[in-house]
Structure formats: C-alpha cells, structure tokens
C-alpha cells in the first residue's frame, strides 16, 4: 500500500536512496546536506546497511567508490565546499566506471559563501568539476516528492550506465517539508548492475557489451585490476597509447551522450502554444511555474521547461523547441550557467535572456512574471 509522508527534501532523498537499494553511505557533515547523513545514520543500520562518517569529503568519495566495488549501492551527500573536494574521486569514478550517487545540496558560493542559504551555482561544476574528458548524469529535484522519486532514478541510472550520478539539490528543496507519496515496494522500479557470468579467462572488465561492461565486484573470482590510469579493455594501464586513450574517452563519454534521449527528463507546462518559455530547475522551477500561471491569466502565451535532468544537456530538445519559441528566459539562482547551454543548443533560432538570482534567495513569481511581460512587450 502506498504511504503518505511529510518529509523534507533531505529526508525524502535519504529514504528514496534506501528504497533504491542504497546500503552504504559515507559522508562528512556540511550544511545544508547534513540532514541526509543524519537520517542515513539512523536508518541504514535498520536496513542492514552501513553508515560511516569519514574524516573529510575526499575520504567520503573514495569510500563510496571502494564500497561500490565491494558490491554495494552507494551514496554520499555534501554541499559546495565538500563537492569541490570530491571532484578528484568523481573523476576516478568516471574513469573506472563506478556506479555511485553524489547528492550536492547547493548553497550560495563560491567558497564558504552563504552556508545556510540557497544557491544553484554548481550546475557547471556538476558536469565539469573533475579534470579531463568525462560525462556524468545530473538530476535536479524541485520538491521533496521528487527528491524521493528522482533519487531512485539516479541510482538506477548509475547502475545502468556505470557512472557517477550527481543529485543536484538545493538548500530550499532540502529544507522544505511537503507531502511525499511513497509507493508500495513492489511498485518501485529498481535496477541492479550487470555482473559478468562468463569464465574469468574470457572476461574483460572494461569491454562494453551493448554499451556497458558487466562489472565484477570484489570476491567474485575474476581478479580484476581497476586503475585510475588510462586503461584498456582488460583494465591494464596503457599510459602512452593515444589509441587506448581515445577508445576509453569515447567510451566513457559516448555511453552517456548517445543515450541522452533515454536519460532526458523534462517537465513541460503550458508549452503547446507557448511563445515565451521560462527555463528553470530545482526550487527556481517552482517560482517559474507560478509565474507562467500568472502570465496565462493575463493572456500571455508563456510556458515552462523545467529540467529534471540537466546533464547530459538536452541540446536536441532545445533546438527543436526553438522552432516555436521567440524568447527563452532562463531563471536560475546563479549568474548564468544553464543559460549558456540553452544558448549553445538553439543555434541563434531565438533570443535567450538570463534572469539571475545571486544566491541567498529564490526568484519570486512576480520577478519572473515581470520578465515574461517585458518579453511579451518586445523588450
């Protein structure tokens, strides 16, 4: 039977993770993500899982990778400063194709910034934060309900594509409490990672079968070598071969890029006849929806494009959408990040305007509505 809960976004994310099968959490306290760690400390022992508070975020990220290779579904949670520290090992997760979920509850930055107040300035970092070429999947919830539902999807995608998935929350969604409908267990789709079944001598730990290589966890008898160095299909370091480097980079990027449509998750609201589209995500997406409702009351053909998946960026979607849209207004709590991607994707077919908030506060619906009105009047 489904259950109705009254949960904050942080609690909903933690419960969603458990529902998705997460049984290992390593983390380091940081506002506004600490509630996730605290709830995991309470709940994981009840679910035969493991919670460990590490000495810092470097260690937290390394520990979840180790635990993932140990066979667990794993997660950590942090905010800006800690997310910066995790980048090194997010790169290790990318190159070693290790399933894991990293919740980044965004606060206003840079640096220590505004520790208790909202920001959405980690959009680019969530994609480009570690060095070198790689891809991540980045998912952004707008409510406690989505914190529950979408973190399950985050785990499923991490396991399916063997990739670190960034769960890009924000302080507002994390701290607000709302109704969360928890479906019965059997109604929750949970994806398990593909493991090898062939004899060890035939197994190549990094050779994709249909896009993704089966993953041998520690102790299965495959005796694999996993390295952060450039490696071949066998997992062996090949640090001077440009061919192996090209093969590996193409693989870890293309397994995500080529599946953008499958990964894509967008809420469209009043977009059928829209001429002005507000693009938003996370908490700002809620203000944007309210603004569109106001605009419609005033007879303005405005719609909402809310990104539940930010990366891989839905370039194709925006290019098509631009055929019917005169102006995109990008409302985000930063000084222009998703805006750059929208601009890049539509190849000049429409105009794009940024409506920034600089951190510490969310756009009010009227602020966004006023921008819609300006656009309507041709400003």
């Amino acid at each position: 039977m489904k259950k109705i809960r009254f949960w904050s976004g942080d609690i909903a994310a933690a419960e969603g993770a458990i529902a998705a099968g997460c049984r290992f959490f390593a983390g380091y306290p940081i506002t506004p993500a600490s509630d996730i760690a605290e709830h995991m400390a309470l709940r994981l022992p009840q679910e035969n899982g493991i919670f460990i508070q590490m000495e810092d975020e470097l260690a937290s990220m390394a520990a979840i990778l180790g635990a993932s290779w140990g066979g667990a579904k794993v997660m950590t949670a942090t905010s800006g400063p800690g997310f910066s520290l995790m980048q090194e090992n997010i790169g290790l997760g990318a190159i070693t194709e290790t399933p894991c979920v990293v919740a980044d509850v965004q606060r206003a930055g840079p640096s220590t910034g505004m520790p208790t107040l909202v920001g959405q300035g980690d959009v680019m970092q969530s994609r480009w934060g570690s060095h070198g070429d790689y891809e991540t999947i980045v998912i952004s919830p707008s409510s406690p309900q989505e914190s529950f539902d979408l973190i399950i999807r985050a785990f499923n995608l991490a396991e399916l594509y063997r990739v670190p998935v960034i769960f890009l929350m924000d302080e507002c969604v994390a701290h607000m409490s709302e109704r969360v409908v928890v479906p019965p267990k059997e109604k929750i789709e949970v994806v398990e990672r593909l493991k090898p079944s062939m004899p060890p001598e035939q197994y190549m730990p990094f050779k994709p079968l249909n896009n993704i290589a089966p993953m041998a966890i520690a102790g299965m008898g495959y005796k694999i070598h996993v390295t952060g160095l450039t490696h071949n299909e066998k997992g062996y370091p090949q640090t001077t071969s440009t061919e192996v480097q090209e093969w590996m980079i193409r693989h870890i990027c293309d397994k995500i890029r080529k599946n953008e449509r499958k990964i894509r998750d967008i809420e469209e609201y009043e977009m059928d006849d829209a001429e002005i589209a507000v693009v938003s995500f996370g908490i700002a997406g809620r203000s944007a929806k309210a603004a569109v409702k106001i605009a419609r009351k005033h007879g303005i053909k405005a719609g909402l494009i809310r990104l539940k998946t930010i990366w891989p960026f839905p370039e194709e979607y925006f290019e098509n959408a631009a055929d019917n849209i005169k102006k995109f207004i990008v409302a985000e709590i930063n000084y222009g990040q998703v805006k750059l991607e929208v601009e890049r994707s539509i190849h000049g077919k429409a105009s794009v305007e940024l409506l920034p908030k600089f951190g510490g506060a969310v756009h009010t619906p009227m602020e966004i509505y006023n921008k819609i009105k300006e656009a309507k009047n041709g400003n």
Partner: protein, 175 residues
C-alpha cells in the same frame, strides 16, 4: 483556499516545531496541500526564530510566505518584523504577555500562552498551547488533525501534557 502562515518568536520557544506540526497536520490528517519552510531571510536573524507554512487546496508552486494571512507572534521582535507583511484582512495572534501592540488596527486574537503553559508546569509547551489557540481561531485545520500531528511529534512521556496544553489553547480560542 490558500493561507500563508508565519509563526514567529525567539530561539528556544519551539517556533520551528509549530510550523512543522501545523503543516504536517494539514498534509497527513486534513488531506490538504501544505508546505513548511524553516526560517528564511532577514526575519531569522538575531535571536529571532520563525517558521512558515502555506496550506492550500490547490497545488503550491512558490513555497515561501510573502503576504501573511495569519501571523502568530510570540515575541515583540517577531511581531514588529512581520506585522507589516500581514494582509489587510489578515489575522494576528499574539501571546499577550510577550507582545505589546503598537497600533490597534485589524483583528487581533490574544492569549497568555506562556503563562498557561507555566501553570501546566512546563513553560516549554507554550507553543502547543498556542497551536491549539491558532487552530480554534483560524479554523484552517481541524482539531483532530492538529491533535494527531502534535501527538506524533512529541516524545512519548510528554504526550499527555501536550494534549492538555493543546486542549487548553483550543478552548481559549473557542471562547
């Protein structure tokens, strides 16, 4: 129906819990939409504490309280900061021993919640007395819902005390 509610006071009065319980009551026991947000923005500075609840029949998009329908003030600072945001036909609820009104305009419901709580033996339940009063005065929530939410949110050994506190406040509001 859409009501924007702010509970305000100072740290230690259980202001955060009040908002949480009220929103929980609406969602879990009155089958309404509600969103609770903790202290936010300048009103949270200093020793001040506030919590915010929107209760509505319709979907709630923007979750923050901007134009207040109901202001519950349990400190002078909370009253002075937030009263200007109260709608013209809004309801002001105060602990009359803690808040001195500056102008007499509008509807004001007064209770000595803290004193009642002290008489019950625990000053800490003033917030629950106030929640009972709030429920009776505003009629946004049913008594049954707030009672269930309160009992679910307090430690087992204090359930009885909290139930009495809630009822006291509620009865005051019915007068």
């Amino acid at each position: 129906m859409k009501k924007e509610i702010r509970f305000s006071g100072y740290g230690g009065q259980g202001i955060i819990l009040m908002g949480n319980i009220a929103a929980k009551a609406a969602v879990l026991y009155d089958d309404k939409n509600a969103v609770y947000t903790p202290s936010y923005g300048p009103e949270a500075r200093g020793g001040a504490a506030s919590s915010n609840v929107i209760i509505a029949d319709e979907e709630i998009d923007y979750p923050y309280v901007t134009d207040i329908d109901v202001l519950v003030a349990m400190s002078q600072l909370g009253y002075e900061h937030n009263a200007p945001l109260l709608k013209d036909n809004g309801v002001l609820i105060i602990d009359k021993d803690l808040v001195k009104l500056k102008n007499g305009v509008g509807k004001v419901a007064k209770i000595d919640a803290t004193r009642i709580a002290e008489q019950l033996g625990k000053r800490i339940v003033a917030n629950i007395v106030m929640l009972g009063f709030f429920t009776a005065v505003t009629k946004i929530l049913s008594y049954d819902a707030i009672k269930k939410a309160v009992l679910e949110s307090v430690p087992a050994k204090f359930k009885e005390l909290n139930e009495i506190a809630l009822e006291k406040g509620y009865k005051e509001g019915k007068k």
